[in-house]
Structures are given as C-alpha cells and as structure tokens.
Symmetry: C2
Subunit: 371 residues, 2 copies
C-alpha cells in the first residue's frame, strides 16, 4: 500500500501539501525524515521521536547491511521491531555511503564492489541485492541503487553515472516487482550532477518506470547553495506532479524552505542530529553554539517559546554545563531540540501552505533570522 494525494497548492510558489499513505501509517508532506543511520536516531528513543512529531524515519542500508547484518535483523522480521519503531521507514539504497564512506568502491555494469569501512571485508552490491536488503529490512519506501558522483565532476563522467543509474533503476524495478508484487513503494533517483540537460535526461529516462516517487540525488555534495537550488528548481518540475518528490540529504532550515517553494515534498539530513552533538542548536532566530561563554549564566531555554522537552525543562546554562563536561545528556537534549525544530518547521510550513500563506510564512521566517 502506498499512495500520495496533494491536498493544497500554494498559489504563488510551487509549494504543495500532501498526504502519503503507507501500510504503517500516513505521512503529511512536506516532511522532514530524521536519519537513523545505524538503527537508531542518535541518542533518542522512538517515543521521543514521536513526541517531537516524527512521522517517518530514514534507515541506512549500507550501515545496517554491514552491521548488525541482515541475518540479525531477520530475527525480528525487519528493522521496525529490531529498533522498536512502528511507523514508516524509508531506506536509502546504500549507494551514497559506498561512494562516501566505503573504501575502493568500483563500479561495473553488474553493480559496485567495495570494502567495508568497519573491517575491510569485500562486498558486491547490485541493484537486485539493494532491493533484497531493503525488503529484508521491511522498508516502507525502498530506494533504487544509484551511482553517486563527487563534486565537481566532468560532464562525461556525470553522463555515464546517470546512464548506469538508469539501467540499475530498471533492474531495481524488476527485482522489486518480483519480490513485493508491487506492494509498498520504490523510488527512482535522478542524477546528472550540476548539468541541467543531464538532470533532464535522467528524469525523463526514469519517468517511464512509473516509480512510486522520485528523488533527486547528488545534491548538497559540496556545490554552492545557489547551484543546488538551481538544479532543484530546474529538475523538480520535470518530475511527475502526482508523485512525491524527495530531495536527498538536504539541508539547512533555509534550504528546506526554498526547496519546498520549488515543489519538493520530502527531505532527510543529518544536520539536526550531527550538529546537536557538536553543540550547534537551531532556532527561529538562527543557530547558536551552546559552548559559547555568554550562555554560562543564561537561565533562558535554548529557544524562547519552543515547547520541546529540552526547552520546557532546561536552561542554556545547564545545557552549556553538560556540553562542556561532555555529559551524554548534553547530546541527547540538544538532539531532541534540533529534531523537534526541523519537524516543527515542516509542520508550520505545511500549515502555511494549506492556508495559502506560504509566502508570508517564508518572509517572516527570514525576518526572524539574526544569523
């Protein structure tokens, strides 16, 4: 079961609000998906994610395949029971991590060989295997294996990568059809680097496979933000209007708002969780670094008016103390606030779209920023 309905459309931008239905519950879009790399959103429990408003989380195929391994997760009939999260899970294909984390990644038509970053063991990931692993994880939204490239990249290299991505997408579709009989969801991933015409070719070559949704991969890989937005601006309208559109691995609160304006529906990013562990906290006014000496005596919450657990109960002075003392609770409380901030931002964005007030919401958002 998988469906997508658009329930509201901004009259002045491409922003839209929708509802994804999955067998494990609904997801209201635009949506931010917290990243659970190793079967856990770092430091948080599922109950905390739910109370922060999470509707769907992301799992990393590459990480889970290597550790603990599918044979372990099989004992639990998938990732949901293993990690105690009963809502929808989207899994990436592992492609991005293989090219960024693994060693000696080598592409062939068959798939990609690589060595584990954990123990150096050699592995081959094919499109069929990527679908198999994600199916065993019990993923509600499976992603096609794609060939991610670095930035900057030559045009010819980029073209070859998108072409193999298309051929792999076809094989993923076939593997998914035979495994799932069309239940659940499989998303295609548009590549094409920073070349508009290649992005268009990639989109057009994937559309015939009629994926459940379409992602744009290979963005936020080091390029200037203007180019990222330009690529999204150009590519998003090429994708089928009636399908959810997912920008992978992006980004800041500002990025999210701009990408929603361009018609994107789904996002994931490690920014709220990773930055929390580095002491960077998000707020309507911008970011603050909790290690800053000026918070030493500050009895205010991280963000005034915020109703998250952290802001409801703790001061900047306490959070600074925990952070300076390297206390585990510091990472947890900062993470909870940041995840809440991203989820709540998307909730507000959606409400604004539904009321057709997205543009004034966006203007207000920028007016409040101090950094």
């Amino acid at each position: 079961m998988f469906s997508f309905d658009i329930i509201a459309q901004s009259s002045t931008t491409r922003a839209r609000a929708g509802v994804i239905q999955t067998a494990r519950g609904k997801v209201e879009t635009p949506v931010f998906m917290p990243v659970g790399t190793q079967g856990t959103i770092k430091s948080l429990t599922p109950e905390e994610l739910l109370s922060a408003g999470a509707q769907i989380i992301l799992g990393n195929t590459y990480h889970l395949y290597l550790r603990p391994g599918c044979d372990v997760i099989d004992q639990f009939n998938g990732l949901h029971r293993f990690m105690n999260w009963s809502g929808p899970i989207l899994t990436d294909s592992g492609g991005f991590q293989i090219f960024s984390l693994a060693k000696l990644a080598k592409i062939s038509e068959e798939g990609v060989t690589f060595r584990s970053h954990i123990d150096g063991a050699r592995h081959l990931l094919t499109p069929e295997k990527a679908v198999e692993i994600q199916t065993r994880l019990g993923s509600d939204v499976i992603m096609c294996l794609d060939n991610c490239i670095q930035y900057p990249a030559e045009r010819e290299h980029t073209r070859k990568a998108l072409e193999i991505t298309t051929r792999w997408a076809e094989r993923c579709k076939a593997a998914w059809q035979s495994r799932s009989n069309g239940n659940g969801a499989l998303f295609g991933i548009v590549q094409g680097g920073m070349f508009k015409d290649l992005r268009e070719i990639s989109a057009e070559s994937l559309i015939p496979f009629d994926f459940s949704g379409f992602a744009i991969g290979g963005l936020s890989v080091g390029e200037p933000v203007e180019i990222m937005l330009e690529m999204a601006d150009y590519t998003l309208p090429k994708l089928p209007h009636a399908k959810p559109k997912y920008i992978m691995g992006v980004g800041t609160p500002e990025n999210l708002i701009e990408l929603v304006a361009l018609g994107a529906d789904m996002f994931d990013c490690v920014l709220p969780t990773r930055n929390a562990r580095n002491g960077q906290v998000f707020s309507q006014q911008g970011t603050l670094n909790i290690s800053n000496a000026k918070y030493r005596y500050d009895t205010n919450p991280l963000e005034s008016g915020c109703t998250c657990y952290t802001c409801s109960n703790y001061s900047r002075a306490y959070l600074r103390h925990l952070y300076m003392a390297k206390e585990l609770l510091a990472y947890r409380l900062n993470t909870l606030h940041n995840v809440y901030f991203f989820l709540n931002l998307m909730k507000q964005v959606r409400e604004a779209i539904v009321k057709d007030e997205f543009e004034s919401f966006r203007n207000n958002f920028y007016r409040n920023r101090k950094n």
Copy 2:
C-alpha cells in the same frame, strides 16, 4: 526538616526498614542513591530516574564547585532547578574526590588545598567552605568534610586522618548550625581505615555532635570485600540506632544485601551507571556483558521478567548492536536498566524486611546467581 523512623526490623539480622522525611519528600530505606556526579545521572533524565524508582540522588560537591561553579548554580537557587530534579539530593563533601581525582592535595588543620583536575587552578576547601558550597547547592543532606586515605594505610596515618576528620566535623556542625539554623540535615563521616579500634574511636568521637545521620567512609577503596564487610559489621552497631546509617561508595548487589543485613540504610555507587557504559548489565542471574558474541541473534530482553523501559522494548541483539556501533542510545538503555535493577533490588529488600522475610530473600537472591 529531617526525620528518620524505623518501621520494621528483621528478627534474624540487623536489617531494618525506615522512612526519611525531608522537605523535598520522603525516602524509604534501605535506599540506593544514583550518583549524579556533574549535575546529571549520566545519560538519563529526571523523569526516567523517577520512573525507575529513584527517591533521592547524590550530587558531587567537588565536581560542581569546579564546574559549572556555585556562581552559575546560584542563578537557579541551587542544584534542583538547575538540573530539573525536585526530589531530595544528598551531596558529598568533596573530600573523597579531592583525594582521588584532584592533584597535589595537601592537608592542613585549616583544610585541604588541591589543584583542579580540569584546569590545574589552586583551591582551598575548608570544613566551613564545604558546608557553604553544599548549602548553596540547596542540598537536602549535607556531608561533613572528611580526610579520606588510601588503602593500605599505616595505623598512625589512619589515626591522624580520623582525628582531623573529627575536628573538621565539629567545625562543619558549627558552620551548618549558623547557616541552616538546624534545618535540613548534616551527616558525620566515620573514618579509621581498616583498624577496628580506630573505627570505634571515630564513631564515638562523632556521636556527641548528634548529626542527623552517620556515614561510614573509606570503605571499598581497594581492600578485600571480607575486610570491607568486617569493618562495616564492627562499626555499624556503634552508631546510634535511631539515626540513618550510610555506607559511602559501595557497592555490588551482593555488597548491598550484606550491608543491609549488617544494619546499613543508605548507599550510593557509580557501579550501575559506569558499568552500563562499559556494556556490563546487572540481572538477578548475575552480570552479563552485552558485547558478547553469543547475544548477536538473541531476541530476549537483557533480563527476562524485568519491567524496566529497556527490557520492555529492546532485545539483547539490538542492545549489542548499539553497543558495538558505539551508539549513544546504548549507554542510555544499559544505564536505565542497571539503575532500575539497583533501585528495584532495594525495593524488594525493603519489602522483605517489612514482611520479616529478609533472610529467605537473601538466600533466594544467592540461589539465583549464576556468576
């Protein structure tokens, strides 16, 4: 406000059940106090501590005095609001940490000078200052500054240390009287190393000051467990029957049960929290190390029958995976289980005392142990 009432007495051992009343709520004894070294029980929230059954926690004067410093905690009128814990807090005097953690600790009649383990800054802690700091922390149970010694120690050195501890106790009592006007509680600490006669001298010299309760310090400092128990066995009956008796910094579940049998009412120890972070988990059957490969596919909870949050929701296989992947949630879930185990053990011990079934409880406890 501080009172102690004995509500039940084992007919075959010295074990007793009591109730301590403080201005911030009651504490049922025998009680285990989780250790909040730096203003947090490592990785846990106050709500989790409450749900695990914590009634009173311990704060470390030495750590909090150095970081964040009393001037920060003053902004919150004490530690309770700073760390969001509204129940009773017992604070140690800082003595133990100065002698174990700080550098160049040097005793004089006036007090102890030392250098901070954080930044090397020089400090002088006097009995009066120890009381002042604990008062500023808003402590519900203040401990006298004592002169802790290492194990093994010469008799003469031990005698001098207990004598200065007694003189400091007198000064602490005077300082506390003038600061608190007798409200709250001040505990004296018996020293005397591993010499029974010195323990007796120490106890007798402290009794005239009529402290709210009496602690035995300087145990579990490296001596064999038999000697620790022998010292407690000898010393506990020398202390006033009507006052709570607190064995500082001890110990394992077995230690706690034996010390309860000898008449002890209060305990604190970093064992459940520290060992959790090292993957060691406590259970009725003994300890297990979650990193053990045999738990790789184990779908059982850490301890079958345990109703803690961790055991209610997660398997050994998942907890092993989190631990091997160094995920923050691992430390948190292990800690929660271990703290619950210690608190629940004391709860069961108390129920057994009330029913005068302590000895059969103790026998059962040992029968269940597998390691």
